[in-house]
């Protein structure tokens, strides 16, 4: 009888490493950090005619999530909208001034406001926020809704 080899058995890790790298590549490609700005607990109304946002500016749109009680969330945190919107508007004006394109106080801000509200949110909450945005120079307002396709997938 021949003697057994005492060398340790090493599994070939190359295929598993290949697979793991492919999975990492997949997740890196599909990851969307903008999703963090959305409050996924809100139930948006379903309207098939809603279209993707037409905005090609370099600055991010102002996204406001409004729940049934009228509370506003941004990036998962409740914000005091009466101070949040003016602050954001001021930042945009400062940014544009730094870029050499200052705006006057009465000028329209070139950034849309995206309003994501629960489908049962009362109009009084929405109009309050719209008025606030208008008062600080925002004129482009986008009201969010789900597409029917997404509803079917759920």
């Amino acid at each position: 009888m021949s003697g057994h080899s005492t060398e340790g058995v090493e599994p070939n890790l190359t295929p598993i490493l290949d697979m793991v790298f492919q999975l990492i590549t997949f997740f890196m490609l599909v990851i969307n950090f903008k999703g963090a700005a959305l409050d996924l607990s809100l139930q948006l109304p379903v309207l098939g005619s809603a279209r993707p946002l037409e905005y090609a500016g370099s600055m991010e749109p102002l996204l406001l999530n409004i729940n049934v009680q009228g509370q506003v969330k941004s990036y998962g945190k409740s914000v005091e909208v009466d101070t949040f919107v003016p602050h954001e508007a001021r930042l945009v004006r400062m940014h544009l001034k730094a870029l050499g394109t200052p705006l006057g106080d009465a000028d329209e801000l070139p950034i849309p406001v995206i309003i994501r509200a629960d489908k049962t949110t009362n109009f009084e909450h929405i109009i309050r926020i719209i008025r606030l945005c208008q008062a600080h120079g925002y004129r482009q307002i986008a009201l969010s809704a789900m597409n029917r396709i997404e509803e079917k997938q759920r």
Binding site: E10, L13, T14, I16, L17, V20, F21, L23, I24, F27, M28, V30, I31, N32, K34, G35, L38, L40, L44, P45, L47, S49, A50, R51, P52, L53, E54, Y55, P112, I114, R116, A117, D118, K119, T120, T121, N122, F123, E124, I126, I127, I130, Q134, R139, Q140, I141, A142, L143, S144, A145, M146, N147, I149, E150
Partner: protein, 174 residues
């Protein structure tokens, strides 16, 4: 000079230790899996909101909104009233002074509203350039969007889609 004899070493196979790399790769994978949240497919009703105006320029006669052509030529804002009930549902829709929808918003009543608005916007003599929606403060966002959806389907005389929509709280002051 003495010749050195080089002893030939046996060809050893160089093996990389892949375990460390695999550990790191698994950690990255775990991070991506845990933070992965597929974003919902959302659409938007994008509009340009002018500041609301008082209802002083509404000069429409009741029959002008039915396509009779009796409206004044200087009317620019089309007012739509949407009262609601305690459940947040719309109870009727009035365009100008004419009640177009009586009762809840159903697909057929929305089609009726759409037809009515098309007939108004088809009149070249009434150059509406904006719509003002007067909604009940209890009206739900879903009901509001149904009206907005119909409004945004309208085309102005120059063929451009209606984007100038403003909102007013019914009974409120602007």
């Amino acid at each position: 000079m003495s010749r050195r004899r080089h002893k030939k070493k046996p060809a050893e196979e160089v093996q990389l230790n892949l375990a460390a790399m695999l550990d790191m790769a698994f950690q990255l994978l775990a991070f991506f899996i845990l933070t992965f949240r597929p974003t919902p497919i959302e659409g938007h009703f994008q509009m340009h909101l002018p500041l609301a105006v008082p209802m002083t320029n509404v000069e429409m006669s009741p029959d002008s909104s039915t396509g009779g052509g009796g409206g004044s030529a200087f009317v620019e804002t089309l007012d739509i009233m949407v009262p609601g009930d305690d459940n947040g549902q719309a109870t009727s829709v009035t365009v100008g002074r004419q009640a177009v929808v009586l009762g809840r918003l159903t697909p057929s009543s929305l089609q009726q509203l759409d037809r009515h608005l098309r007939s108004i916007f088809g009149l070249q003599a009434i150059p509406f350039d904006r719509i003002q929606i007067h909604a009940d403060k209890r009206l739900h966002y879903e009901e509001l969007l149904k009206i907005v959806d119909i409004c945004m389907k309208q085309k102005m005389p120059d063929g451009k889609p209606m984007r100038q929509i403003s909102f007013v709280e019914m009974g409120g002051t602007e």
